[in-house]
Amino acid sequence: MSDFLQFSVTGITIGSIYAIVALGFVTIYSVTKVINMAQGEFVMLGGMIMFTFLGIGLNYWLSFLLTILAVMAIGWVMEKAIIQPTKGADPISLIILTIGAAIFIRGVASMIWGKGQVRVPAFTSNEPISIGPATITPQSIWVVLIMLFIVLLLYILIDRTMIGKAFQACSVNPMAARLMGISPARMSSFSFTLSAVLGAIAGLAIAPIMFPAYDTGLMLGIKGFSAAILGGLGSAPGAVLGGLIIGLLESFGAGYISSGLKDAVAFTAILVILLIRPSGILGERNVGKGGL
């Protein structure tokens, strides 16, 4: 029983990490129907830039803010540089462009920070907290809290504000949105900037747990993408659900079946779920109308 509790806590920790990355995918997808394969790189940049700012002796929370701004700028530049000039290209081409951007960012990062991992201190003290027989680190709780906060924020933004309506309009029919006076180009730029911010926050939250390196984004990108697909692309609560399910499956798979097979267990389950619900758990049912 105590093992079960620990497996659950660990599963939630891992799942939250995947979920927080998945939220960035959702933001861009819900506006442009593009899957930004460089999302994991935004997360990596969050951790690495924070490390640099701390290294030159800046205050923790000042570094925190500057990191978010820096990654935000990178997201904006990326959109301006590769998405805007290819106006009208179909999403598949744009997705391939983002893969190129990801490889580029990774290469530059390995030149700037080298190939080693870096350590970023935790937000608050690192004394583990006991939940009955199980333990969890404060940083993991921060990850969960930040993730919930972002979901709430995205929900309000997309479902309760004009900008959110404009987001959805661009996603459903860019031409009609344009006729209504919404600029899809500006919305696309906004969504990239926003998801870069989300990526940076995710990176900042995860860095103390994971020891980021130039190639961390690759693994996180894959897991986050899987979470987003599982939850139903375009749905923020879905992304969270997807992330948590994958995290728990991995943890229980490792705990009760075999740690060597944990990825196999998790991805078999994902396949089964997607066979039953091809649009993901909370996904819209009109799959095939846009995006992939």
């Binding site: 093992d3 620990q6 497996f7 806590v9 660990t10 599963g11 920790t13 891992i14 990490i17 190939k115 080693g116 991992q117 350590r119 690192n126 583990p128 333990t135 969890i136 680190t137 993991s140 995860i206 747990i209 994971m210 020891f211 390196a213 190639d215 961390t216 690759l218 693994m219 943890s251 490792a254 705990g255 740690s259 060597g260 990825d263």
Partner: protein, 429 residues
């Protein structure tokens, strides 16, 4: 218009190729000029060395490369080998198998070398092994895996200086026997390094009366290993042996500390670097690993046969390059010096160098260990070439595990003056 553009592109590409080709010719010309100079006294010994100076294996290859350069200068300043100057043709395989094969062929056929040293990684070395056997050129590798020199029937021309995983495993088990621990859980990386480690750990367990209570694995980039540790703890293990390279072992150290289990953390030689301690910080305290002595030459007792050779090498290296040679540098040292030893003793063609290395190297003191080569063993080391190190106050500290338990802590405390700063990382394989 388009055609013109295409033509222009072709021209540019052509010029580029020509430039590259020219560059290549230059170097060979330089080489042959040097050759002429050397040929004034008719003879010069030419050895080839292929190390991964760039690419993912560069933390391994760079100290090996530097060491080779440094030693060649030293040997020639002191009048060469029996008066004959030594020339080492250094080549970088960029951590790629294809490049390693290419350079190997070039060294053997164009440079006509007496022997080849390298490479740093296992895959590159295995690729070079076939060429060495085929062309009957002695190869001394700096790769960790035992397959490089095993089975010995297929490794007639191949030797290696780093301790095989097997020795690291035996060294850990000897430590466990001394510490009175018999139940261990294994937590290994699912990559090549971790799986070979797992195989060796399982194979040697019976011989040392070690009971493996749990076998768990993880992927190098996994964010949390608490689940595996919980299972290992529930299996009744007294210690957990973690076989992998950064960052996962550091994450595991953190997880183990926060779970608060009463299990000793034993790492592999894959984390014999400062970056493990930098990442895990407090959680690294008390972690025990087997390592080569080059991690901390100043902590080696003075009566150790390797003391002089290690410290002289270490100090020279630090003076010249302003960085630590690490264990990898010591492989570079032994690779070259073994061949030099053969040349010194009159083995001056490919076949006699091979024979010398196989039959005449006994109790030869190197920086990695004391070598005893034989037709059955082309590595020639025993588990005592490795020592146990423990993290104390943020540094790796040597400790004698065969001493009585109470003395250990005192002895470790004496070693505080040591200020090791090692940045090399072992992302081997």
């Amino acid at each position: 218009m388009k055609k013109k553009l295409l033509l222009a592109l072709f021209l540019v590409a052509g010029m580029f190729l020509a430039a590259c080709g020219g560059g290549g010719n230059d170097t060979t010309e330089d080489a042959s000029n040097e050759n002429d100079n050397g040929n004034e006294d008719v003879d010069e010994y030419v050895i080839g060395a292929i190390y991964s100076k760039t690419g993912p294996n560069s933390p391994l290859g760079e100290p090996e490369w530097n060491t080779t350069e440094m030693l060649v200068d030293q040997i020639n300043e002191n009048g060469g080998i029996n008066g004959v100057p030594l020339r080492v043709v250094l080549a970088d395989d960029e951590s790629s198998q294809e490049k390693a094969v290419q350079e190997m062929n070039r060294l053997i056929n164009d440079e006509n070398v007496l022997a080849v040293l390298g490479s740093s990684g296992t895959t590159e070395s295995l690729a070079m092994k076939g060429i060495a056997n085929q062309n009957q050129v002695p190869l001394v590798s700096a790769a960790a895996a035992a397959q490089v020199v095993e089975p010995v029937e297929e490794s007639e021309w191949v030797f290696k200086t780093p301790q095989s995983d097997r020795l690291a495993v035996e060294r850990i088990y000897i430590y466990l026997n001394n510490a009175g621990i018999s139940k261990v859980g294994l937590l290994t990386d699912s990559n090549a390094f971790g799986t070979t480690g797992l195989e060796e750990l399982e194979a040697a367990a019976d011989e040392y009366n070690i009971e493996i209570t749990a076998k768990e694995s993880y992927n190098t980039q996994d964010p949390d290993m608490s689940t595996q540790l919980t299972n290992i703890n529930s299996s009744g293990a007294e210690a957990v042996i973690v076989w992998g390279t950064n960052p996962a072992p550091a994450i595991i150290a953190n997880n183990l500390t926060s779970l608060g289990f009463d299990m000793e953390y034993i790492g592999s030689h894959g984390i014999a670097n400062q970056s493990f301690i930098d990442l895990a910080e407090d959680a690294a305290e008390g972690v025990v690993i087997p390592t080569g002595k080059a991690l901390f030459p100043d902590q080696i007792p003075e009566d150790d046969v390797q003391y002089d050779v290690l410290n002289e090498y270490y100090n020279n290296y630090v003076e010249r390059f302003d960085s630590e040679p690490t264990n990898f540098g010591s492989y570079g040292y032994d690779n070259l010096m073994l061949v030099v030893e053969a040349l010194k003793n009159g083995a001056t063609d490919r076949e006699s160098i091979r024979d010398y290395l196989e039959n005449e190297i006994s109790d030869w003191v190197g920086t990695t260990g004391v070598f005893n080569m034989s037709p059955e063993d082309h590595n020639g080391l025993t588990p005592d070439s490795l020592v146990m190190a423990r993290v104390e106050n943020g540094e790796w500290v040597l400790f004698e595990d065969d001493a009585a338990k109470g003395e250990e802590t005192e002895e470790a405390g004496d070693n505080e003056e040591n200020t090791e700063e090692e940045t090399a990382e072992e992302d081997e394989e």
